[in-house]
C-alpha cells in the first residue's frame, strides 16, 4: 500500500539486468552473483558406484584415516567461516567519526584554526575559541564513547546466542565407527545419523531406515521430510537422497556420504551470501545526513554573508576570517548530538523492555519508516509445531484448540465415536514423551517422534488424559509401521474393555486408503454400513480440510473376533494372518502448524498503519495460503486470480490480474519472471504470498520492494531467511527459535519470538521520529539568539551581549535535559492509524522546520534577549543608541573614563563587570523564554491544552534548567570562574512579554493548521 501511491512513474534502475544480479555490484563480483544463483549439484543423480568413485571412498569401510587427514588439510575444517567481525577499534572510530560527529569535529578544528589565527595576529590573548574547540571535542568524544558502550552492550547479549558446544558426528573410517568432532568431518566420509542428531555436513544418503529430517530452517517446510537413498527429484533441494548440513534428523537412522563441508554446504553458501551483502544506510542515518547538509548550508550562507559584510565594513581579512569561523561554529548544534543519541538509546531501552533487542542504535527508528514487511511463515507467523486443528467424526467437522495457551474453544467430547477415535490416535502412535516432564504443561513437553504423531499424542493427552496409561491398559501385540507403499500404520492391542473382543486392531493413514479398507462407519458409537452418502460426506470433509492446508489422517479400527483370534494368538505382521479389510471407519483428524496467537492482531495493526505485509515462505502454496488467510495477510473477501476464475468458471487466463487483490506466487513461477513482472506483482497486488521460495528468491523479492521505493522489514528465523534479513532495511530475527546465522544477519531480535513486538517497534519508531523533530526544533531555535549578539557586535559595534561561555551553557547545560525530555513525549494522534512516512518527501529536517526554528522562534527569542540587554545597559546609564559604535572604546584597556549617556565615568574593569552581567541576564532571559519554547515544541499540530503536561521528564527539565541558570548566576565564585554575575530579580521578567507573544503566535498558527488541513500554512510551516 505504502509505496504504491504516486510512484507509478518510478523508473527502474536496471531492467535489463537478469534476475539474480545485484544491481550495485554488477559483474565485478562474480562469486557474489554465483552465490545468488540457485544451488547446483549433481551428486543426487549419481549411483553409488559413481559416487564412491567420485569421492574416493568406500561405502562400507569409509575413508582411511590418512586420506581423511589429507582431505582435511586440503579443504579445511567443516566450519562456517564466521562473518568478518569488525575490530573493536574500527567500531569505536565509527562512533567517533560517523555522521553528526564529523560535523562537530570540523567545528572543533575550525575553532582551533581561529584560535591560532588570533594567537598569531592579535596581541591580546583570547582563549574563547580554544575553550570552544575543546568543549566541542569533549562532547563528541563523550557521546562517541556513550554510543559505543551502548552498542557493545547489545552485542554482548548477542554473544549469549552463540552455541559453543562442539557437536559430535559418527563417522566410519577404516571400517570402524568413530565419534569425532563435527569440524573434522571431511568430504567422502561415511556418516551415520540417527533421530535427534544435527546433520554435520551435506550428505548423499546411501542407506536409510524410516529417516525423517526437519528442513524447516533451510526451506521453511514445517513438516519433516522423508529421506531415502532414492533419487526422486531433479532439484537437489527437493530430492529425497540429500540431507543438508545443520538441519536435524527427527527420527530413524541413515547413512550417507559427505559431499560438501564447511562453506561449500548449501547452508554455508547461504551464510556466505548473507555476510557478503551490503545492507546500506539506515533511514535515520540518511535523515541525519540530510540534516547535516542543511545545517552546513545554513552555516555556509550565514558565514559567507557575514564575511562579505565584514569586508565591506572595513575589517582586515584575518579578522573577517575569524568572524566567519565564529559564525560557522556558532551554527553547530553542540547539544544535538548527545540529544539524538540519548533519545535513540532511551527508545532502544524501552524496546528492549518489550523484548525487542536492537543491535544497532540507528535501527530503532527504521521500523517506524517501514512500509513493507516481508515475513517468513514457519516459526515466525506460526508456532512451528504441528497441532491437531480439526477432526471429522459423526459426520461433522469439529474444531480443536490450536492456541498456544489452550484457551480456545473446545468441541463435543461426549460422543462415543470420539472415545474410539482418541483410543486409536493414542494407541496407533509411536510418539513418546521424554521423561521427567510432569511439571511442564503438556503443550510444551518434548515428545520424541514424527511431527504428526506428536501432534496426535499431545492432543489426546490434553483431551483424554495420559496416553501411556492407555497404552499400558492395552499393550501392543503386533505392529506394521508406516511405509510409503502401504500408506498406513497398523497395530494390534490387547483389549480389556468389557463388551468388546479381546483384541483390537487399530489403523491410521492416508484417509482415502483407510476408507477403501472399511465397510462400516461409526456414528454416535454405533456401527453403520458405509454407504455412498457417507462416502460423499467424507470426501467433502477431506477436501475441506485439505483445502485449509492441513495434513489429514484417517482412522479405523476392528474388533478381532475372539473365536478366530483367541488370547495368545501369534499375529504375524509379515504374513498378515489377520484381516486388514472390512474395518470400521471412525473419523479423520487434520493437523497444521497453527499461527501464533498474537499474529493476526499484529498483522491487522500493521495494515491499519499502512504497512503492507507480504508472506515469503519456503512452504507449499496451499499451506501458505491457508496460514495467510488465518492470520489476515490475505484478508477475508479478497480473492486470488485462481479463485476468481473458479468462481466465474472461466479459464485463469481470462481473468484480469488487476481484479484480484490477493496473489499467491509459486517459487517456480518466480524463477522465470523478469524483474518487470515481479515489480508488477508487487505494485498491483496488496496481499501477496510467495510460496516455495528459495533463499535467493527471498532476496530478490526484498530487492524488488526496495526498488519500488519501499522501506522493507524482513522477519524470519531460518538460515534461508538470512540473506533477505541482511538485505532488508531492517532484519528482524527470532530470539528463541531463530538460527544463529539469522541472528547474525538481523538488526533486531525479538527475544520472545512474538511477532506482535514488531507493532511495538513500528509504534516506537514512528514516535521517536516525531519526537526527534521536536527536539531538533527546540535545539535549533536557540541558534539565532546565540548568533545574533556576535553579529551585532561585529556589524553595529555594540559591546558583546552574549559570550561564548554562556552560549555553551545554553547548548550543553540548560537545553540538554529539556531537549531529551521531548523523547518522552506522547504521540499527538494515533500514530498507528496513519500511513508510513514517505522516505523521499517526509524528511526529519526540512526547510519548514528550519524556517520555524530560525526564522520564527529564533528571532523572537533573540529580540527578547536584546531587550534584556538594552534594559540593563539602560538602567546602568548606556542608552541603546549610545551603545552603537561604542565597541572600540568599550574594549580599550587604557580607557578608564568612558562616559555613559548620563556622563558617569566607567573604568575598564567596571565596564567588563557590566558587560558580563549583561551576558548573564541575556542568558537568563533566554532560559525563561525557552520554557515557553519547550512547551511550544511539545506539539506540532495540537494545542498544548490538548496535549497536556503529562510528560514528567519535561517538567523536570523545566525545573532543572531554571535551577542551573539560578545557580550559575548566584553561586559565589562563578563571577571569577565563569564571569557570570548575579541577575537582579526584575531582569528575569524582561523576556516574559516576548515569551507570551511567541506562545500566542504559535498557538494561533497551530489552531489555523488544525482548522485548514492541507492549506497554505501547513504547506509552509508544518514541519
Amino acid at each position: 500500500m505504502g509505496f504504491n501511491k504516486g510512484k507509478d512513474d518510478y523508473k527502474l534502475a536496471a531492467t535489463s539486468d537478469e534476475v539474480g544480479k545485484g544491481g550495485k555490484k554488477g559483474d565485478k563480483n562474480k562469486d557474489f552473483d554465483n552465490l545468488k544463483k540457485e544451488v547446483e549439484m549433481d551428486d543426487h543423480k549419481l549411483n553409488l558406484d559413481d559416487l564412491s568413485r567420485k569421492y574416493g571412498t568406500d561405502v562400507n569401510r569409509g575413508l582411511t584415516s590418512t586420506k581423511a587427514k589429507e582431505i582435511l588439510a586440503r579443504d579445511g575444517p567443516n566450519l562456517l567461516t564466521p562473518p568478518p567481525t569488525t575490530p573493536e577499534w574500527v567500531k569505536f572510530c565509527k562512533q567517533m567519526f560517523g555522521g553528526f560527529c564529523l560535523l562537530l569535529w570540523i567545528g572543533a578544528i575550525l575553532c582551533f584554526i581561529a584560535f591560532i589565527i588570533q594567537m598569531t595576529s592579535e596581541e591580546e590573548k583570547l582563549y574563547d575559541n580554544l575553550y570552544l574547540g575543546l568543549v566541542l571535542a569533549t562532547v563528541v568524544f563523550v557521546t562517541g564513547c556513550f554510543s559505543y558502550y551502548q552498542e557493545a552492550k547489545s552485542s554482548k547479549i548477542m554473544e549469549f546466542f552463540k552455541n559453543m558446544v562442539p557437536q559430535q558426528a559418527l563417522v566410519i573410517r577404516d571400517g570402524e565407527k568413530k565419534s569425532i568432532n563435527t569440524e573434522d568431518v571431511v568430504v567422502g566420509d561415511v556418516v551415520e545419523i540417527k533421530g535427534g542428531d544435527k546433520i554435520p555436513a551435506d550428505l548423499r544418503i546411501i542407506g536409510a531406515h524410516s529417516c525423517k529430517v526437519d528442513n524447516s530452517s533451510l526451506t521453511g517446510e514445517s513438516e519433516p521430510q522423508t529421506r531415502s537413498p532414492d533419487f526422486t527429484n531433479e532439484n537437489p533441494l527437493e530430492t529425497r537422497n540429500i540431507a543438508f548440513s545443520s538441519t536435524s534428523c527427527v527420527e530413524g537412522t541413515a547413512r550417507g556420504i559427505v559431499i560438501n563441508t564447511g562453506d561449500n554446504t548449501v547452508i554455508g553458501r547461504i551464510a556466505t551470501l548473507a555476510s557478503s551483502l551490503d545492507s546500506g544506510k539506515t533511514p535515520i542515518a540518511i535523515e541525519i545526513e540530510h540534516f547535516i547538509h542543511i545545517i552546513t548550508g545554513v552555516a555556509g550562507v550565514l558565514g559567507i554573508t557575514f564575511l562579505i559584510l565584514a569586508i565591506v565594513l572595513g575589517y582586515t581579512w584575518l579578522e573577517a576570517i575569524v568572524f566567519l569561523i565564529s559564525i560557522i561554529v556558532a551554527n553547530v548544534p553542540e547539544g544535538l548530538l548527545p540529544t539524538v543519541t540519548v533519545c535513540l538509546t532511551l527508545t532502544a531501552k524501552r524496546m528492549a523492555k518489550k523484548n525487542c533487542l536492537v543491535k544497532n542504535l540507528e535501527a530503532v527508528e527504521t521500523l517506524g519508516s517501514t512500509s513493507t514487511i516481508c515475513s517468513d511463515k514457519t516459526g515466525t507467523l506460526t508456532q512451528n509445531r504441528m497441532t491437531v486443528a480439526h477432526m471429522w467424526f459423526d459426520d461433522l467437522i469439529h474444531e480443536a484448540d490450536t492456541t498456544e495457551d489452550q484457551h480456545g474453544a473446545s468441541f463435543d467430547r461426549d460422543s462415543p465415536t470420539w472415545a474410539a477415535l482418541s483410543r486409536i490416535a493414542g494407541l496407533c502412535n509411536r510418539a513418546v514423551a521424554l521423561a521427567d516432564q510432569d511439571h511442564i504443561p503438556i503443550i510444551k513437553r518434548e515428545v520424541a517422534g514424527d511431527a504428526s504423531e506428536t501432534a496426535l499424542y499431545k492432543c489426546i493427552e490434553m483431551c483424554c488424559g495420559s496416553v501411556s496409561e492407555m497404552r499400558n491398559k492395552s499393550p501392543k501385540i503386533a505392529e506394521i509401521p508406516f511405509n510409503s507403499t502401504n500408506k498406513y500404520q497398523l497395530s494390534i492391542h490387547k483389549n480389556s474393555t468389557p463388551g468388546e473382543t479381546k483384541h483390537l486392531l487399530v489403523m491410521k493413514g492416508a484417509p482415502e486408503r483407510i476408507l477403501d479398507r472399511c465397510s462400516s462407519i461409526m456414528i454416535q458409537g454405533k456401527e453403520q454400513p458405509l454407504d455412498d452418502k457417507m462416502k460423499e460426506s467424507f470426501q467433502n470433509a477431506y477436501i475441506d480440510l485439505g483445502g485449509l492446508g492441513e495434513r489429514v489422517l484417517g482412522f479405523c479400527h476392528y474388533n478381532l473376533p475372539d473365536d478366530q483370534f483367541p488370547e495368545g494368538f501369534a499375529f504375524d505382521t509379515d504374513e498378515v494372518n489377520f484381516p486388514t479389510e472390512n474395518l470400521c471407519f471412525i473419523g479423520i483428524m487434520s493437523m497444521i502448524d497453527p499461527p501464533r496467537a498474537a499474529v493476526p492482531d499484529a498483522v491487522g495493526k500493521c495494515r491499519s498503519a499502512g504497512i503492507k505485509v507480504i508472506m515469503v515462505t519456503g512452504d507449499h502454496p496451499i499451506t501458505a495460503k491457508a496460514i495467510a488467510k488465518g492470520v489476515g495477510i490475505i484478508s477475508e473477501g479478497n480473492e486470488t486470480v485462481d479463485e476468481i476464475a473458479a468462481r466465474l468458471n472461466v479459464p485463469v487466463s481470462e481473468v484480469n490480474p488487476r481484479d484480484a487483490k490477493a496473489c499467491v506466487v509459486h517459487g517456480g513461477e518466480l524463477k522465470d519472471m523478469t524483474l518487470d513482472q515481479l515489480d508488477d506483482i508487487l505494485k498491483h497486488h496488496t496481499e501477496i504470498v510467495f510460496a516455495r521460495t528459495s533463499p535467493q528468491q527471498k532476496l530478490i523479492i526484498v530487492e524488488g520492494c526496495q526498488r519500488l521505493g519501499a522501506i522493507v522489514a524482513v522477519t524470519g528465523d531460518g538460515v534461508n531467511d538470512s540473506p533477505a534479513l541482511k538485505k532488508a532495511d531492517i532484519g528482524v530475527a527470532m530470539g528463541i527459535t531463530g538460527s544463529d546465522v539469522s541472528k547474525q544477519a538481523a538488526d533486531m531480535i525479538l527475544l520472545d519470538d512474538n511477532f506482535a513486538s514488531i507493532v511495538t517497534g513500528v509504534e516506537e519508531g514512528r514516535l521517536i521520529f516525531d519526537n526527534l523533530k521536536k527536539s531538533i526544533v527546540y535545539t535549533l531555535s536557540s541558534k539565532i539568539p546565540e548568533m545574533s549578539p556576535f553579529f551585532f557586535f561585529a556589524i553595529a559595534n555594540i559591546p558583546l551581549p552574549l559570550g561564548t561561555i554562556t552560549i555553551l551553557f545554553i547548548d550543553l547545560g540548560t537545553d540538554l535535559v529539556p531537549a531529551i525530555s521531548l523523547a518522552y513525549e506522547a504521540p499527538e494522534s494515533d500514530i498507528m492509524k496513519r500511513q508510513p512516512r514517505n522516505a523521499k518527501t517526509d524528511k526529519l529536517v526540512n526547510y519548514r522546520l528550519i524556517s520555524v526554528a530560525y526564522g520564527q522562534l529564533g528571532t523572537i527569542q533573540a529580540t527578547s534577549g536584546f531587550f534584556t540587554y538594552f534594559v540593563i545597559m539602560g538602567e546602568n546609564g548606556f542608552w541603546p543608541l549610545h551603545l552603537v559604535g561604542l565597541r572600540s572604546s568599550w574594549y580599550d584597556k587604557q580607557l578608564h573614563d568612558l562616559e555613559d549617556s548620563y556622563g558617569q565615568q566607567w573604568t575598564y574593569e567596571q565596564r567588563k563587570i557590566l558587560e558580563f552581567t549583561c551576558h548573564t541576564s541575556y542568558f537568563v532571559s533566554i532560559v525563561v523564554i525557552r520554557w515557553f519554547t519547550l512547551i511550544i515544541a511539545k506539539t506540532r499540530r495540537n494545542s498544548i491544552f490538548q496535549q497536556g503536561m503529562k510528560n514528567h521528564v519535561l517538567i523536570f527539565g523545566l525545573f532543572e534548567e531554571t535551577a542551573l541558570a539560578t545557580f550559575l548566576s548566584y553561586c559565589p565564585g562563578t563571577d571569577v570562574a565563569l564571569r557570570m554575575y548575579p541577575v537582579k530579580p526584575f531582569w528575569w521578567f524582561c523576556s516574559i512579554p516576548f515569551a507570551l507573544t511567541m506562545f500566542t503566535y504559535e498557538e494561533t498558527r497551530k489552531y489555523l493548521l488544525r482548522r485548514k488541513p492541507g492549506g497554505w500554512l501547513e504547506h509552509e510551516t508544518y514541519y
Binding site: 484478508s635 494515533d830 523536570f956 535551577a963
Partner: protein, 86 residues
C-alpha cells in the same frame, strides 16, 4: 499539577518580595541577600524537579499502558482472519 503551580506561585512571590525590599536603594544593591535567595531558589527548584521526576516515573508507565490498551481495543482485521480459519 496543582503542586507545581503552587510552587511556581511561591517562587514568583518570593522574587517580587525580594525586589520590593531592595527597590528603595537603587544604587546600593544588596547582592549578598540576592545570592542567598537565588541559591535557595535553585536548591528548591532542583528538589522539586527531582521529586516530580521520581513521582512521574511510575505514572509515565501507566500512561503508556493506557495508550497501548486504547489502541488494542479497536476491532482488528485479525478477528475476521481467525474466523475464516475454521
Amino acid at each position: 499539577m496543582s503542586k507545581i503551580s503552587a510552587f511556581m506561585m511561591m517562587t514568583l512571590v518570593s522574587l517580587v518580595f525580594a525586589e520590593e525590599e531592595n527597590s528603595d536603594a537603587a544604587f546600593t544593591f544588596d547582592y549578598k541577600r540576592l545570592r542567598v535567595g537565588g541559591l535557595t531558589l535553585a536548591a528548591v527548584l532542583c528538589l522539586i524537579g527531582i521529586t516530580i521526576l521520581l513521582s512521574g516515573h511510575c505514572r509515565c508507565k501507566f500512561n503508556q499502558d493506557k495508550r497501548r490498551t486504547g489502541s488494542g481495543a479497536q476491532p482488528m482485521l485479525s478477528d475476521q482472519g481467525r474466523a475464516c480459519n475454521c
